[in-house]
Symmetry: C2
Subunit: 325 residues, 2 copies
C-alpha cells in the first residue's frame, strides 16, 4: 500500500492552485497518495477525478495574523487542523503544508505530538552544500533552546542526514562565532561539552556562518534564532548576488556573455534554490511533517511530498526515536 500524505491545500502564497499542481506532479512521479485538505467546493473542480488524490473538506483557512497555539486549540475547521487530525487518526502518515508556518508547527506539536524522549521538535532545513547537502537544525521552530536540546538536535539532524539524505556517518558542528569552541556563553560551552563527549556523534567542533555552504560538516546545530538568520541570509545573499549580475550585465558585450553563460548560471542558481529539498523538515514529532516555504512553486510542493513519502518509507520517526532513547 502506498504512503498517504495529508497536504494542506489552502496554505501558501498562490494556494490552492500551486499546491494542486505540485500534488499532481508528486503523485504522477512517485508511489504516494495525497489526502488534499481544504475547501471542497474550490478543490474538487481543480482535482477532477484522480485515483491518487482524495479531497477532504475543511471550511476555514488560517489567517496570516493568527496566534498559532490559540488557533490549534480553539478551532476545528481550519485546513491545517483537519490535515493534522487525519495524520493523528492514522489516515495519513505525513503532513505537508505551505501555510502559516507557526500554525503548522503548533498543529504538529499539539495534535500529532512529540515522539517519545524528545524534548523539543526541531526544524531541519537543508542547505545546498558545495559537495553534498548540509542539515541546519534548528532553522526557526524554537526561540530559546537549552544545551541539552542542542545536543538532541545533533541527533535529530544526524538521523535525518543518514536516513533521508543517505549520508554515511554524518559529521556535525556547533554554530559559533570564531573558531575556538571555548568562545561563547555558558550555554554554548555546555552544548560543546555534551557534543564532544558523545561517542554516537561525529562531532567536529565549532563552525561559522561562512561554512554554511562549504560542506565542512553535514549537520550544523544551533538554536532557532541564529539558524533562521543563517538560512534567510543564505537565501537573500544568493538571490541578491544573481540580481546584481543581471543588473550589471547591460552592455552588448556583457549581454552576449550572459547569454552564453546562461546554462552555467542557471545550474548554479538551481543548486542554491531553497525548493530543492521541499522546505523545512520538522524532526521529533510522531509523524513526518514538512513545512514548505509560503512562496514555494509547484516544484517545491512536489519535492516536499516525495521527501515526506521517503521519510515514511525509511521510518525516519523510528530512526530518530532509536537514536534518542
Amino acid at each position: 500500500m502506498s504512503v498517504v500524505i495529508a497536504v494542506d491545500a489552502m496554505g501558501g502564497d498562490s494556494a490552492p492552485h500551486s499546491v494542486v499542481e505540485g500534488v499532481r506532479a508528486a503523485v504522477d512521479s512517485a508511489d504516494l497518495t495525497v489526502l488534499l485538505v481544504g475547501d471542497e467546493a474550490v478543490l474538487q473542480p481543480l482535482v477532477v477525478e484522480h485515483p491518487r488524490i482524495a479531497v477532504r473538506h475543511a471550511p476555514r483557512v488560517v489567517p496570516q495574523d493568527a496566534d498559532p497555539a490559540e488557533l490549534v486549540r480553539g478551532d476545528e475547521g481550519t485546513s491545517i487542523v483537519v490535515a493534522a487530525r487525519a495524520v493523528k487518526a492514522g489516515e495519513a502518515q505525513a503532513l505537508v503544508s505551505a501555510g502559516h508556518s507557526g500554525a503548522t508547527l503548533a498543529a504538529a506539536a499539539l495534535i500529532i505530538g512529540r515522539a517519545p524522549g524528545i524534548s523539543r521538535p526541531g526544524l531541519a532545513a537543508v542547505l545546498p552544500g558545495a559537495t553534498r547537502p548540509t542539515v541546519l537544525l534548528d532553522a526557526g521552530a524554537n526561540m530559546d533552546t537549552t544545551a541539552q536540546q542542542l545536543h538532541q538536535f545533533a541527533h535529530l539532524g544526524t538521523a535525518f542526514a543518514e536516513h533521508l539524505l543517505h549520508i554515511d556517518a554524518p559529521t556535525s558542528g556547533l554554530l559559533a562565532i570564531g573558531e575556538e569552541p571555548g568562545k561563547g556563553d555558558a550555554r554554548m560551552k555546555e552544548a560543546h561539552a555534551l557534543l564532544a563527549a558523545d561517542a554516537g556523534l561525529h562531532y567536529r567542533g565549532s563552525v561559522e556562518g561562512r561554512d554554511a555552504l562549504t560542506s565542512l560538516v553535514d549537520v550544523i546545530v544551533t538554536d532557532g534564532f541564529a539558524g533562521n538568520v543563517l538560512l534567510k541570509t543564505c537565501e537573500g545573499t544568493a538571490r541578491e548576488a544573481f540580481r546584481r549580475v543581471r543588473a550589471e550585465a547591460t552592455g552588448l558585450r556583457a549581454q552576449l556573455g550572459g547569454a552564453l553563460m546562461r546554462p552555467a548560471l542557471r545550474r548554479v542558481r538551481d543548486t542554491l534554490d531553497p525548493d530543492t529539498y521541499g522546505g523545512g523538515h520538522l524532526l521529533g514529532t510522531n509523524a513526518v511533517v514538512i513545512v514548505v516555504h509560503g512562496s514555494a512553486r509547484p516544484h517545491g510542493i512536489a519535492q516536499a511530498c516525495r521527501y515526506a513519502a521517503e521519510g515514511v518509507e525509511c521510518d525516519l520517526v523510528g530512526a530518530i526515536s532509536a537514536r534518542v532513547s
Copy 2:
C-alpha cells in the same frame, strides 16, 4: 595638523608586509599620518624613511590562542597594547588592527575606554546594500546583550551611518525571525518597544536575514551572536556563489561567456568585497577603533586607515556621545 592613526603592524595573516603596504597606500592618498607599532627591527627596513610613517617599537605579538582580557591586563609589550596606549596618551587619535580581534576589542575597552554614557561598545560592520551601505550592529563584540543595549546600538549605528556613511536620516530595523515585531522572546519584545517609542530614531520594525543586502533599512540592530552569523553567512554565500559560477563555466561556450562577462562579474564581486569599508568599526569607545579582517589585503588596511581618519575628522566619537546623552 593631520590625523595620527596608530596601526598594529604585527596583526593579520600576512603581517607585517600587507599592513605596511596598506599603510603606505593610505598615507599617499589621504591627509593622515601613521604611527606603526611593532618590531622595530622588522619594520624599519620595510618603511625606510617616510615622512608620514613613524615606527614605534613593541617587542611582542599577540598569540592567536591568547585570552584577550588577560593579555591586555598582564602584558605591556604586545603591539596592540602599545598601539592602544599611544591612543590613550593622545599621541594618536585612532586605532587600526588586523590582529587578534578579541585582543583589539579588549585593548579598546580596557585601555582606550568607553565613551561617557555608553553601556557596551558595539562592533559595526558595513554590508554592501543594493542601493547604499547598511550598518550591522553588533557584528560580534558582545555575546549577551540586553534590550537597553540593543536600543543604544541603534543610536550608535545611526550616528555612524549619518556621519561616516553620509546617509541622511538613517532608518533602522531590529533583526528578527518572521516579520511580526511581536514574535520573539521577552528581550526582543522589550527592545522592539524601546526602539518604536524613540522619536530620535527612524525605526521601521523587524527585518530578516534575507534583507541583509536589499537596503531595506540603513541600520540593522542585533546582538553579537546573530550579527556575526549574518555577516559571515553573507560573506560565505557570496564567495561560494562566485566559486560555483567559475566551477560551472567549463565548456568553451561558457568560458567565452565568462570572458565577456568578466568586467560585470568583477564589479558585482567588488560590491560584495568585505574590504570595501575597512572592517569592523568599534563604536562607543573614547576614540575611533577599526578591527580589520585578519585576511585583509593592503587595500583593506588602507581603507581602514582612511575611514579612521574620516571618523576623527567628523568627530564620530563626539556625535555618538551627543546622541546617547
